[in-house]
């Protein structure tokens, strides 16, 4: 869970250190205090959400909305659930192994789905050029083109000249 969450934040463009998971048993009050204090300090250092990451409010909202959508998508959730199942079956809970598996199985999916959601959200506001999409999403030409082609194959977007827009039926 932690690893996946961090990778989603990364994909959104947020510092993954904004999310932390730690443990303190019922008897470890001082440790708990340490955890909360340290984390608060760490976040103070990082700064307000989006600011140090160079994300303006609008982009941030857009991307987080895309991440929200991702988290409820069956495809992502199935992959996430299956990965957890595979890890449990193998019994290898070392951070390295989990990180490797998440990198292999989930990160490409996260990136692709996020980008798709973002592009859809941008297109929903009106026709957009590839250049605008590139600058708003921060993705590469190849990635954006791949998403647009996929969407157009499914008949969800059309291209008119240099601009792309959602297909209206």
């Amino acid at each position: 869970m932690a690893e996946v969450t961090k990778r989603i934040l990364e994909a959104v463009g947020l510092n993954p250190a904004r999310f932390r998971i730690d443990w303190a048993s019922a008897a470890e009050a001082p440790r708990f205090v340490q955890i909360v204090t340290d984390f608060t300090e760490a976040i103070k250092k990082i700064g307000p959400l989006g600011e140090p990451e160079g994300l303006d409010k609008e982009t941030l909202k857009l991307r987080l909305a895309a991440a929200r959508e991702l988290c409820t998508k069956n495809r992502f959730r199935a992959a996430y659930g299956n990965l957890a199942r595979a890890i449990k079956k193998e019994g290898d809970y070392s951070p390295e192994s989990i990180a490797r598996k998440v990198e292999e199985k989930l990160v490409p999916l996260i990136k692709k789905e996020l980008l798709e959601a973002e592009i859809k959200a941008l297109l929903a506001k009106g026709p957009v050029s590839i250049e605008t999409l590139l600058s708003k999403t921060g993705a590469s030409q190849e990635e954006v083109t791949a998403v647009l082609e996929g969407l157009s194959k499914r008949g969800q977007v059309v291209r008119e000249g240099d601009l792309w827009q959602p297909k209206t039926s």
């Binding site: 904004r18 999310f19 730690d22 009050a29 955890i35 103070k44 988290c71």
Partner: protein, 65 residues
């Protein structure tokens, strides 16, 4: 004004939430920036909760097992 981060915490009923209570009993002091959601176990935590927290504007999210 100094930046006061807004932190959402998810604490496990049996562990961190209990530790947080003990910290209170012992009168330890810590920064007042976090707000707490109690869950029965960290297994309950869905990545979407974390994303949602950032979506509504959290500067940081802490999960305590």
């Amino acid at each position: 004004m100094a930046f006061e981060p807004k932190i959402l915490s998810f604490f496990c009923h049996w562990c961190c939430y209990a530790a947080a209570d003990s910290a209170g009993v012992a009168r330890y002091q810590y920064p007042p920036n976090n707000r707490v959601v109690r869950v029965m176990c960290t297994g309950r935590i869905d990545p979407r909760f974390i994303v949602e927290a950032f979506y509504v504007g959290a500067d940081g999210v802490l999960v305590g097992g």
